[in-house]
């Protein structure tokens, strides 16, 4: 399984096309909020979830998606789903 740092790097690649604040994107941490910090359109969170599903061959249910608002929570969810596979 990927380390946390590797997961963050992979997640950044997935999120990049939706980012509207390039400067904040340079300094992504686990606390980075997709909407507040990266200025991602809230409707695009659905697309990010789909892209994550495809990249990791997992399914992100509605409940998990609602929590997937920061880089940190996204990583937690990916790890949790991968562990359950």
């Amino acid at each position: 399984m990927q380390t946390k740092d590797e997961l963050i790097t992979a997640l950044k690649t997935i999120v990049k096309p939706y980012v509207q604040d390039e400067q904040a994107f340079e300094h992504v941490t686990e606390a980075t909020d997709f909407i507040r910090d990266l200025k991602i359109n809230s409707a695009n969170l659905v697309d990010i979830a789909l892209d994550v599903e495809e990249a990791y061959d997992i399914e992100i249910d509605n409940e998990s998606m609602e929590k997937m608002l920061t880089v940190g929570t996204a990583i937690d969810i990916i790890q949790e789903k991968l562990a359950a596979k």
Binding site: V46, D47, L50
Partner: protein, 423 residues
């Protein structure tokens, strides 16, 4: 006191030219944009020719961000946004920063939008994959999709809407925008319309057998309005857009004024007295033109050119009859008459706006574009008007007033009067 309304911006994505400079050159020289499409042949269409604007990846990159292009599967939105933004920039208008431009609105019509995206979605839904549709479906398939995209790009904050009246859509959009400015509810309106291309839009017409099947090996000759050998309309696609503006606002901004909109009229034949779902009530067509002249304050003898609807079906002679009756002019006294469809086909819901852009270009540049493929004029037409009134080549000539009309399924009509602007 009603405001005078002028045209200050033009944009077009047409089968024979993308962008106003290319389109102007094409219509001056009578260049056809009709080509053969292998996809239609593979799908066993009787008519395998059509008009598709030559839009490149570079064009898309110019008007859309990478994010906007992600999952974008809609020729109509691409055409509409390109034409709309070209017109907006052409008018010299800024894109609003934080504050919306409360005085500028958008009316951008279509017949049906993003049929390819719809198809993609239907497959996913039927496979039980609704959750994998993502966020882009609704924004693309809603009828107001183009006006919504354009709002975000321009920051317009007045009325934002999309109209739909089949093949009269584009001309109707212009008249609705004209009315909004004339009445003082807006200073500027971006008005236009678009149509997707492809087998899912065109198939229904092929099935109705109203498209020509004899010209698959000779596509440029396929679209033949006013001709004895016309055998149906060639399907087209694209978008046209015009910035309409109060004369006062245009003069304050020192904007280039391309033409004045004098007014017009819209009506329906109620599918009575010869009118049906697919054929116009001839009385309604005549009344639409007559009322448009009255609304615009134009005498019938002042009309220099008719840019007709003229699709190249059996209805062309009836349209000429309606013009003759409405204007009380015939023979050598009939105005010049042409059909842009001879070069680009019938661009359906985009027809009115692309053709209105062409009309404005004629007024501003002083020429009458040729109605190609009409060398063998229809006998029922040459019995009513002198064939010299149908230009075979471009005619260089200062013209003052153009009457432009479009008619649509459902028995709906729209006619607009445009005038060369004299400061």
């Amino acid at each position: 006191m009603r405001n005078r309304v002028v045209v200050t911006g033009l944009g077009v994505v047409s089968p024979n030219g993308v962008g106003v400079p290319a389109f102007l050159e094409a219509i001056e020289t009578g260049k056809s944009g009709i080509t053969f499409h292998q996809e239609l042949a593979d799908l066993k269409f009787a008519c395998q020719v059509g008009g598709i604007p030559p839009v490149t990846e570079a064009h898309k990159q110019q008007y859309f961000t990478d994010l906007q292009l992600r999952g974008l599967n809609s020729s109509g939105i691409i055409y509409g946004v390109m034409a709309g933004m070209e017109a907006w920039h052409n008018a010299g208008l800024p894109t609003a920063t934080d504050e919306p431009d409360w005085d500028s609105g958008i009316i951008f019509g279509t017949g049906m939008l993003s049929v390819d995206k719809f198809r993609e979605s239907i497959y996913k839904v039927d496979e039980g994959q609704v959750r994998r549709l993502g966020s882009t479906v609704v924004l693309q398939i809603m009828t107001s999709g183009v006006s919504a995209y354009l709002t975000g790009m321009t920051g317009c904050g007045n009325q934002i809407s999309a109209n739909s009246s089949a093949c009269a859509t584009g001309t109707e959009a212009l008249l609705l925008a004209y009315e909004r400015i004339a009445s003082g509810s807006a200073k500027r309106m971006l008005a236009g319309s678009c149509s997707d291309h492809g087998p899912y839009i065109w198939g229904g017409f092929d099935a109705m057998r109203v498209l020509p099947y004899q010209y698959n090996e000779d596509p440029e000759r396929a679209s033949r309005p006013l001709s004895a050998s016309a055998s149906g309309f060639v399907p087209g696609s694209g978008a046209g857009a015009l910035v309409l503006e109060s004369l006062e606002s245009a003069q304050e901004r020192k904007a280039t004024i391309y033409a004045e909109v004098l007014g017009g009229h819209m009506n329906s034949g109620g599918q009575r007295a010869g009118g049906t779902m697919t054929a116009p009530n001839p009385v309604a067509v005549r009344k639409c033109i007559e009322t448009a002249l009255v609304q615009a304050g134009v005498r019938a003898d002042e009309v220099d050119v008719i840019d007709g609807h003229l699709t190249a079906t059996i209805k062309d002679p009836a349209e000429v009859t309606a013009w003759c009756e409405a204007l009380q002019r015939q023979g050598g006294d009939f105005p010049y008459v042409n059909s842009l469809k001879s070069m680009v086909g019938h661009c359906l819901s985009a027809a009115g706006s692309i053709e209105c852009v062409a009309s404005v270009l004629e007024l501003y540049n002083g020429f009458i574009y040729p109605s190609i493929n009409s060398e063998d004029s229809h006998p029922d037409i040459s019995a009513q008007i002198d064939v010299s009134r149908i230009p075979q080549q471009s005619i260089r000539k200062e013209i003052t007033i153009i009457a432009k009309a479009n008619f649509g399924f459902g028995d709906v009509n729209a006619c607009i009067l445009l005038k060369k602007f004299l400061a």
